[in-house]
């Protein structure tokens, strides 16, 4: 096979750079040749050549569904990609506990919840609960963590109040429902609230969920974001390491100020 040009990476079907992509979408148009042509034109606007509307389905009423193939003319320069990643050195359960004991010398307190109207607790439970997830223990089981799981449909206010009350090092929020971007609104409100309460510098703000990326989390004003497939140890390691980094920064600043 010829070599891939990393500055101009294109989709691959069966020949390098053939650009082959499959699309599927509906248009609010009645089934027929016009709708099919509209689908084809739309794909062309997206930058596809050799557009092939391989199937068109009458959805009943003024809707038609299409499966389309085409050759994408666009390419990506992967030498220029910037991927925001959670900065963390992977550690296991034992290493994390040892690390906290050795480097921090005190238990870490976290409060966690699935907030707003969201009642999907499976994700946050996977991270926090004793029994954990995918063969790993949750934070409750870590001797060097003190974890409070507030459950589902917790108002942001309650969560922040509990964080203050417990002197939490980190707030963990889960958001699963994303229709109409309700998660964005909800997460933004939490950040505002934390700032309003004047505790932003005292806590790590962490969010997670299937549609959450670290990048999105940063954009919204969180310290970190965790997506699908996250394991408890990922989160635990991040919190531990970040708290240690934070302490260093604080003592450095204090030394400076002194």
């Amino acid at each position: 096979m010829p070599k891939v040009d990393l500055e101009r990476v294109r989709p691959y079907g069966d020949t390098l750079d053939d650009g082959k992509v499959q699309l599927a979408f509906s248009l609010p148009l009645r089934y027929g040749p016009e709708a099919k042509e509209a689908a084809r034109q739309l794909a062309m606007k997206m930058g596809f050549e050799d557009v092939d509307v391989v199937s068109a389905h009458d959805l009943g009423g003024p809707f038609t569904f299409f499966v389309v193939y085409g050759k994408c003319v666009h390419s990506v320069d992967v030498t220029q990609l910037h991927i925001p990643k959670v900065e963390v050195e992977q550690m296991d359960y034992f290493q994390i506990n040892d690390f906290i004991r050795d480097k921090l010398g005190r238990k870490i307190t976290v409060v966690a919840a699935c907030t707003g109207s969201d009642a999907h607790t499976v994700g946050i439970d996977a991270i926090i609960n004793m029994k954990g997830y995918a063969g790993e223990y949750g934070l409750e089981r870590y001797p060097w963590f003190r974890a409070y799981n507030l459950g589902a449909q917790v108002p942001n206010e309650t969560l922040v109040a509990r964080a203050i009350e417990t002197g939490a090092d980190a707030i963990l929020v889960s958001q699963i429902v994303t229709q109409k971007n309700v998660h964005i609104a909800n997460l933004t409100r939490l950040v505002d609230l934390v700032e309003a309460e004047g505790i932003r510098d005292d806590v790590l703000l962490i969010c997670g969920g299937p549609r959450i990326s670290h990048e999105l989390a940063l954009e919204l004003g969180f310290d970190a974001g965790f997506g699908p497939g996250t394991l408890p140890s990922h989160v635990a390691a991040y919190i531990a390491q970040e708290l240690v980094r934070k302490e260093h920064r604080t003592s450095a600043r204090l030394t400076e100020e002194r």
């Binding site: 599927a24 979408f25 509906s26 389905h57 959805l59 009943g60 009423g61 809707f63 569904f65 707003g116 109207s117 969201d118 009642a119 607790t121 499976v122 459950g151 589902a152 449909q153 429902v177 994303t178 229709q179 109409k180 309700v182 299937p210």
Partner: protein
């Protein structure tokens, strides 16, 4: 019976569930709830909202509760007010909301008069519900009732007008049943939103106006397609009986309605739930509405292989409680689901075992079969196939109501073509393997039979223990889905009120009486 199940064990489970239900009923009969009383008001004709947008049934019931008068039943006070003022219930509600009326001032109206003046309103309400049931029968008889497994899909745009377009498209593609999913937080609202709504998240608010809009749209498309398209909503949460009443009035055909769902999955107080559940089911029974129980939820939270017996145990409890509300077999849509990890070797055989077991144990019930959701990922292609295997299990084991899985389950609430693709999937599989179930027998002592036996055994043990401790204690022990709830915990306890000796709920009196007299048309109960 296709699986060689131990009939003694089955009988034993029924016996335990019956005892459990009797015990629950003792508690239910001692109380009423704000939701029940709001329902009564709705049924005697109170509707609308006050100037702050609060529904009038809420305004009135809150007044009565604050006055410590709710234990008499709202009907009692409404009757007195009507008798004293000569106004209609609606007019009384309007006045009360405007602060122009005090229920305390009618205390001297005699009970007999108070009851008598409401008779017409009560009769009108019951007649409307009966007329709806009769209309359903008529339409089903006139049109094609559909072939089982009936195809059930959800719409969930958040906007009732978009929902209409999606629902009609689904019906034209072959759906038999349309469920309008509710917005995320509605079950925790202690009132029913009012009017047509366009702003829900992950679903559309259940309002009476929305019911009406969708019913009309589905009637239209029923006539167009020549098939009666059924409408479903959620009779659960803090307004469970109100929604039942609204559904009865607007001719919904099915209602999600489970005896423990709210307790476990929405942290609603158990006393509140059991009471609301009982009354709401009476209304469903009377309206000819089929309930759909929510056993699938055990499997989305816990492991489907490990917790299979909890599904069965819950089915028995739902059945026993449903009977106590007067629901006939044909209206008890017991739920279960296809949620075993798809990576399980012979997982399909275990699914078939569970589904066939449910069919064998509940031969006359319209079983509702829920699709894979938990192990759905962004791999829409594999998801589509899993849904196909689910559809195969459904047609093989004679399920009644097949809630179709969406290939994009892990991504978003269904897009219009997701639903279309799901219907194509089901129609293909149902037809292509139409008589497979009758064609095959399972090896005696084989994987399928043994699995079903094992689940039945475990369910028996669970039910025996729950009978021992009582259902409330069992829930507290975390027997169901590993979730523990206490009798006095959870939302809505403040809406539970002891009944006074003179408590009056005309509908809770009249409906059971009429049901046992066989008053309602039942030719098409399905």
């Amino acid at each position: 019976m296709k699986l060689n199940l131990d009939t003694d064990k089955i009988a034993r489970c029924r016996e335990c569930a019956s005892d459990i239900a009797d015990e629950v009923m003792k508690g239910v009969e001692r109380v009423t709830t704000t939701a029940i009383e709001r329902t009564v008001l709705r049924l005697v004709g109170v509707d609308g909202v006050d100037s702050a947008g609060v529904p009038l049934p809420n305004v009135l019931v809150d007044m009565l509760r604050e006055a410590g008068r709710l234990g008499d039943g709202a009907a009692c006070h409404m009757g007195r007010a009507v008798a004293a003022t000569g106004l209609s219930p609606q007019a009384i509600a309007d006045k009360a909301a405007a602060g122009e009326l005090d229920f305390a001032s009618f205390d001297d109206v005699e009970d007999d008069r108070a009851r008598a003046v409401l008779e017409d309103a009560i009769e009108a309400s019951l007649a409307r519900i009966e007329a709806n049931a009769a209309k359903r029968c008529e339409l089903i008889e006139k049109l094609d009732p559909g072939t089982e497994p009936l195809i059930y899909v959800i719409v969930a745009t958040g906007n009732i007008y978009e929902d209409v377009g999606q629902a009609q498209s689904a019906a034209r593609s072959g759906a038999d049943i349309i469920a309008v999913i509710r917005s995320t937080a509605q079950s925790l609202l202690d009132y029913v939103p009012y009017g047509a709504t366009t702003e829900g998240f992950g679903g559309t608010f259940a309002t009476q106006e929305n019911f009406r809009i969708m019913r009309k749209a589905l009637d239209e498309v029923s006539l167009e397609t020549g098939r009666y398209i059924r409408l479903v909503n959620y009779c659960s949460g803090l307004c469970m009986p109100e929604i039942a009443a609204m559904g009865a009035m607007e001719r919904l055909d099915m209602m999600l309605n489970d005896s423990m769902y709210g307790i476990l999955f929405r942290d609603i107080n158990m006393k509140r739930t059991f009471a609301d559940q009982h009354f709401s089911r009476m209304l469903n029974a009377y309206a000819g509405i089929t309930i759909n129980t929510g056993e699938d939820n055990y499997l989305t939270t816990s492991d489907a292989y490990e917790e299979a017996h909890i599904v069965l145990a819950s089915q028995f409890i739902n059945e026993a409680l449903a009977y106590r509300s007067g629901l006939p077999d044909e209206q008890i849509g017991l739920g279960h689901a296809f949620e075993i990890d798809p990576a399980t070797t012979n997982g399909f055989l275990y699914e078939v075992a569970q589904a066939q077991m449910a069919r064998d144990i509940f031969p006359n019930k319209p079983l509702k079969y829920m699709p894979p959701t938990k192990y759905m990922t962004g791999d829409i292609f594999k998801g589509y196939l899993m849904n196909g295997m689910f559809n195969l299990a459904g047609v093989m084991t004679g399920q009644s109501i097949q809630l179709l899985g969406m290939l994009t389950e892990a991504v978003h609430t269904p897009h219009i073509h997701d639903r279309y693709l799901a219907i194509r999937n089901a129609k293909y599989v149902f037809n292509n393997a139409r008589n497979l179930g009758e064609e095959i027998t399972f090896k005696p002592g084989g994987i399928v039979e043994s699995r079903a036996q094992q689940v039945l055994n475990k369910a028996t043990t669970t039910l025996e223990q729950a009978r021992e401790t009582g259902l409330m204690a069992a829930i507290e022990d975390g027997v169901f889905a590993g979730i523990s709830r206490t009798p006095d915990g959870g939302r809505g306890l403040d809406g539970v009120v002891e009944r006074n000796p003179e408590y009056w709920n005309p509908f809770a009196e009249e409906i059971p009486a009429r049901l046992t007299r066989g008053g309602r048309c039942s030719s098409c109960r399905k």
